[in-house]
């Protein structure tokens, strides 16, 4: 009976035409073989890009150079706009530095502690005071003040532009759409590529550094403000409207308060981005810690570079933790009075106390101790010990590192670079087009092909291929480490907990910081240090997104797999990894973009390629060369970004609600990092709304 029943449906409805069982292997094999054949065939043709297609883009811009020099003192553009702007920036930063130094070191330490304590709690107050004091201890007091002044003013300007723009974009979808491509571009382009125009029009020093920093730090302020305003639920807006709110009332009483956590995250992000520009700022001769790092690196004084780098890291950590704690407290406290030692203290009393403490600190510093600068006797530079470590490790580990470096060079870097430069340009362009076609369609294929062609047409073919080869090697190495670690972290809460603080710390540090310790071991002059540094720099994002993707797999689906008796490996391979794919691919995209940014900076420590060329153009003020290199970096970044973003374009869960799609390197990571805490807020909001 049971058998008959089971047979019956088959009898009535014949099975559909059997789908031939096809393993993916033959198809993949065809692809691999096809690409290999293309590469082999390519080797028979002239390598690189033919000179006759190279456009003289550079020489066009060289004219601008002389024009600027000739007209700097006469043309209205300079006399009426740029020169006053330049002077104003210079005066403001100088003024702030002077103000800070006149507050004296005692005053600054107390003020930093009191302010941080006021907004973020006494622990953060102590952290801030200790942080400021450490600038003195490390013997980089004045440099730190300069860096802080530059960062502070850049952040204020970025926020003054970014927050209103973000509010506007959050309220009007049209504005948002119009702004998006600009913000995308600002975040994808490595800062190097737009430094030169700023130098040309604003000279050297603080003005171009500030302008470049604002460009770099503006996008997260706009994006996160817009995201916050936009995420206010439609019902809540309806509520406000139904009670007769004016548009202004809706903004002031509903949208802004509800967007505050997101805006605070934007402030935090803007600060971190601005700090990430410190060394780049030094490239255009702005004073500060970056200058110290750069000068030391040029002279191969690793210890001194490390010393100044440490100060930047401390500044980053203090600002990050204080602003994060501030926004968390704002959310929790919501205007309630603070309790200290069991007694309720009003907010006003705290403000008075903080101001009083700062004032006393400044007074003591000016009138009692009478010393602006941090006392020489209290300094302890880590340069000497670090140099000792460098020497020691070079003596003892140098050979091993040398061997690793040599293996990396001989085994991966050199062959890949040789291959990429030996191939004719059209093979590379065809491969890019193929990739574009496969992940998205004909439009991306054409776009990729044209971009690669333009790389050649700009005349930077070999440099670009050189940079590309380093990027590819670093990306592969980074992913080889990151994905397994991410899987491990997703499977074990203990591992997750253990690496979380480490990843947090790694993500707080500006990219170039990784270059310094790497130089301890690997010799300058090869791309190896840049590869290692970029691998390390990009690791957290790969680990995080793999981990996040797997952890986001709905529990019911995992349960279903287990109910059918899947082993742990089967669960991973058949359920978790496929579902985590979008998130992991986003990780690949982010890894590539981060690696690219470090490899470009790595130009200054011997990685060569486009980064080095950009540095040369900047230092020699060759505008044409600078523009060409800048455009090349831009093209490379765009092609890599578009193709890898299309690969992972499915993850609605990641891109839509959290708004990650268009965010650049850092904010994306941060948004993900923040998503853990914002899940909680969303949860409560959800409870409030649902």
């Amino acid at each position: 009976m049971a058998v008959a029943e089971r047979v019956a449906p088959a009898a009535t409805a014949p099975p559909p035409a059997a789908v031939p069982e096809r393993s993916p292997w033959p198809r993949r094999f065809v692809w691999v073989a096809g690409i290999a054949a293309l590469l082999v065939v390519g080797l028979r043709f002239a390598p690189g890009f033919p000179d006759r297609f190279v456009l003289g883009v550079g020489s066009v811009f060289d004219g601008i150079d002389t024009w600027v020099i000739d007209n700097q003192r006469t043309h209205w553009l300079f006399t009426g706009l740029l020169n006053p702007l330049k002077d104003a920036i210079q005066a403001t930063v100088d003024g702030l530095v002077t103000l800070l130094s006149r507050m004296t070191w005692v005053g600054l330490v107390t003020t930093a502690g009191a302010l941080a304590g006021l907004v973020a709690g006494w622990r953060m107050g102590l952290l801030a005071a200790a942080g400021v004091a450490s600038f003195g201890v490390l013997g980089v007091w004045e440099r730190s003040l300069q860096t802080f002044a530059l960062v502070a003013i850049s952040v204020v300007i970025s926020l003054a532009i970014g927050v209103p723009l973000g509010i506007w974009a959050g309220r009007r979808a049209g504005v948002d759409r119009a702004l998006r491509p600009f913000l995308d571009a600002m975040q994808t382009i490595p800062a190097y590529s737009y430094l030169l125009p700023f130098v040309l029009f604003l000279g050297t020093g603080y003005p171009p550094a500030l302008a470049a920093t604002v460009v770099f730090a503006l996008p997260p302020a706009v994006r996160l403000t817009a995201l916050g305003v936009r995420s206010v639920p439609a019902t809540t807006l309806e509520v406000a409207t139904s009670f007769g709110s004016t548009s202004r009332q809706v903004l002031r009483k509903v949208q802004l308060p509800m967007a505050t956590p997101s805006i605070m995250l934007g402030v935090n992000q803007t600060i971190m981005m601005a700090l990430g520009m410190v060394v780049i700022a030094a490239v255009v001769a702005a004073e500060g810690l970056g200058r110290e790092v750069l000068d030391a690196l040029k002279l191969l004084r690793v210890g001194a570079a490390f010393n100044a780098g440490l100060a930047i890291v401390i500044m980053a950590i203090v600002l990050d933790r204080v602003t994060t704690a501030w926004s968390c407290r704002e959310r929790e406290r919501r205007g309630r009075a603070t309790r200290i030692a069991g007694r309720t203290v009003s907010r006003r009393a705290l403000v008075v106390a903080a101001v009083a403490a700062s004032a006393i600190g400044v007074l003591v510093g000016r009138e009692v101790i009478r010393q602006q600068e941090w006392p020489e006797s209290l300094t302890f530079s880590v340069a000497a010990p670090v140099d000792a470590i460098v020497e020691w490790s070079q003596r003892n580990l140098g050979d091993a590192a040398e061997a690793i470096g040599a293996a990396l060079t001989a085994g991966l870097l050199d062959p890949l670079r040789t291959l990429l430069t030996r191939e004719p340009w059209w093979v590379i362009a065809a491969l890019a087009a193929l990739a574009g076609w496969k992940v998205k369609g004909p439009r991306l294929a054409v776009f990729s092909f044209v971009c690669v062609f333009l790389l050649g047409a700009l005349g930077t073919w070999n440099l670009s291929m050189h940079t590309l080869s380093i990027v590819l090697v670093a990306v592969v190495l980074s992913l080889v480490v990151a994905i397994p670690v991410g899987i491990l972290a997703s499977r074990s809460d203990a591992v997750d907990r253990a690496i979380k603080p480490l990843l947090d710390a790694m993500q707080t540090m500006p990219a170039f910081v990784y270059l310094v310790p790497v130089l301890l071991l690997f010799s300058i002059g090869t791309p190896v240090p840049a590869v290692i540094a970029s691998v390390v720099y990009a690791l957290p994002v790969g680990i995080r997104l793999t981990n996040l993707g797997i952890r986001q797999v709905p529990a019911t689906i995992v349960e279903a797999a287990e109910a059918y008796g899947a082993t742990s490996t089967q669960r991973l391979r058949k359920v978790e990894l496929p579902l985590a794919r979008p998130s992991i691919l986003l990780g690949v995209n982010q890894t590539i973009m981060m690696v690219l940014s470090v490899v470009i900076i790595g130009g200054m420590i011997g990685a060569g390629g486009l980064g080095f060329e950009a540095l040369v153009a900047l230092s020699k003020k060759r505008i044409g060369q600078g523009v060409v290199v800048g455009l090349s970096i831009l093209l490379l970044a765009i092609v890599l970004d578009r193709i890898t973003q299309a690969m992972g374009s499915a993850p609605r869960s990641l891109r839509g609600p959290v708004g990650l799609s268009g965010m650049g390197r850092w904010p994306k990571l941060r948004a993900i990092r923040g998503s853990v805490s914002s899940e909680r807020t969303d949860g409560t909001n959800g409870k409030g709304e649902a």
């Binding site: 639920p233 019902t235 309806e238 009670f243 007769g244 709110s245 509903v254 308060p257 919501r334 409870k687």
Partner: protein, 340 residues
């Protein structure tokens, strides 16, 4: 009853490009998919007219997608009607400029929302005072009013809490309090209790009924729950595909469904709880002798059952001491059996 407080005439709401051309056209009667394909438009509300008297509870019942939420939002013009008129106390809402419209929203109409719509960043008391704050009422005054209203909805002492600290039922009490704080003439309810569990929902319905006895507001209440509609409504409108298919008292809807759609809805209603003697009585045509027990016209069938069981004579149905009809055991039985 006097002039209606809310009066809607030929209201249309069409979404899509150039929606005006669909209004009243032959195309408007096409099936949804075909209309969408031909014009790119979707009709949410079509040609709806109704009056709500002062102090009346008018319930609009329909399934999701029937257009009821759109309809209620046209009464305070959060959604702009495509065609038709809305009169609030005789004032044409669609003729109002921004300023006048805001004034009406601030003083005359308040709304209670399905998902409560509380502002998570404000204390309960500030949520309740929101409408007053928007009107520009002084802080001390509005907080005092808010505390009073909170007491009225049974949340005295919760003013300093935040929405997330309250249960769903309590949150909706806050939503109710917020609407009452403005002391509006008209209350709009957009499926206010559908997110609550059944017991809490019943409490809230009772709360609304008791508030209604005290305050005599004009209410327009949207729901997808027929039992809720029958319990709360003085009159019920059944809505389907943007149209009112039937408007009537709960009893009329249950006793005389206008079409199969309504009948389908009302089939499971325990009729004895809704129908009254008036609905099942027969006219008096010379039957003798008329000396049985008397009941009032609004006696529920439920209450009639023991009476007909005990009496062996035909029961007289009276309205103001005048006999208007008769009921006997068979009538009651039939009314109950039709339930199935």
């Amino acid at each position: 009853m006097g002039d209606p407080t809310v009066s809607c005439r030929n209201l249309w709401k069409v979404y899509g490009p150039r929606p005006e051309r669909v209004v009243g056209s032959a195309e408007a009667d096409l099936p949804r998919a075909e209309l969408l394909e031909r014009t790119g438009c979707v009709v949410a509300v079509r040609d709806v007219s109704f009056d709500v008297a002062p102090g009346e509870v008018f319930v609009v019942m329909g399934l999701s997608g029937s257009g009821k939420s759109t309809l209620v939002r046209m009464i305070n013009r959060i959604h702009e009607p495509t065609a038709g008129t809305v009169l609030i106390d005789g004032e044409d809402l669609r003729a109002c400029d921004e300023e006048q419209l805001r004034e009406i929203r601030r003083r005359k109409i308040s709304m209670v929302f399905q998902h409560f719509g509380l502002l998570p960043h404000r204390r309960i008391v500030d949520n309740v005072a929101f409408g007053l704050e928007i009107q520009g009422v002084e802080k001390a005054d509005r907080l005092a009013i808010a505390e009073r209203v909170l007491e009225k909805v049974g949340l005295a002492g919760w003013g300093n809490a935040y929405p997330e600290e309250l249960s769903g039922g309590m949150q909706q009490r806050v939503g109710l309090a917020r609407a009452l704080a403005n002391d509006p003439e008209i209350l709009l309810f957009d499926e206010p209790f559908s997110a609550l569990d059944p017991l809490i929902r019943r409490d809230m319905q009772d709360e609304v009924l008791s508030l209604q006895r005290d305050l005599k507001k004009t209410m327009i209440f949207i729901t997808h729950d027929l039992a809720e509609a029958l319990k709360l409504g003085d009159r019920i409108a059944i809505m389907k595909d943007g149209r009112f298919v039937q408007v009537g008292t709960p009893e009329e809807v249950v006793a005389h469904p206008a079409d199969d759609y309504v009948a389908d809805f009302t089939r499971d209603v325990p009729r004895a709880h809704v129908l009254t003697a008036r609905a099942i009585m027969r006219p008096v045509n010379g039957e003798a002798p008329l000396d049985g027990p008397t009941v009032r016209t609004d006696t529920l069938v439920q209450a009639l059952i023991p009476i007909v069981a005990d009496a062996d004579r035909t029961i007289r149905v009276v309205d103001d001491d005048r006999v208007v009809g008769v009921v006997d055991r068979t009538d009651v039985m039939r009314a109950l059996v039709e339930e199935a």
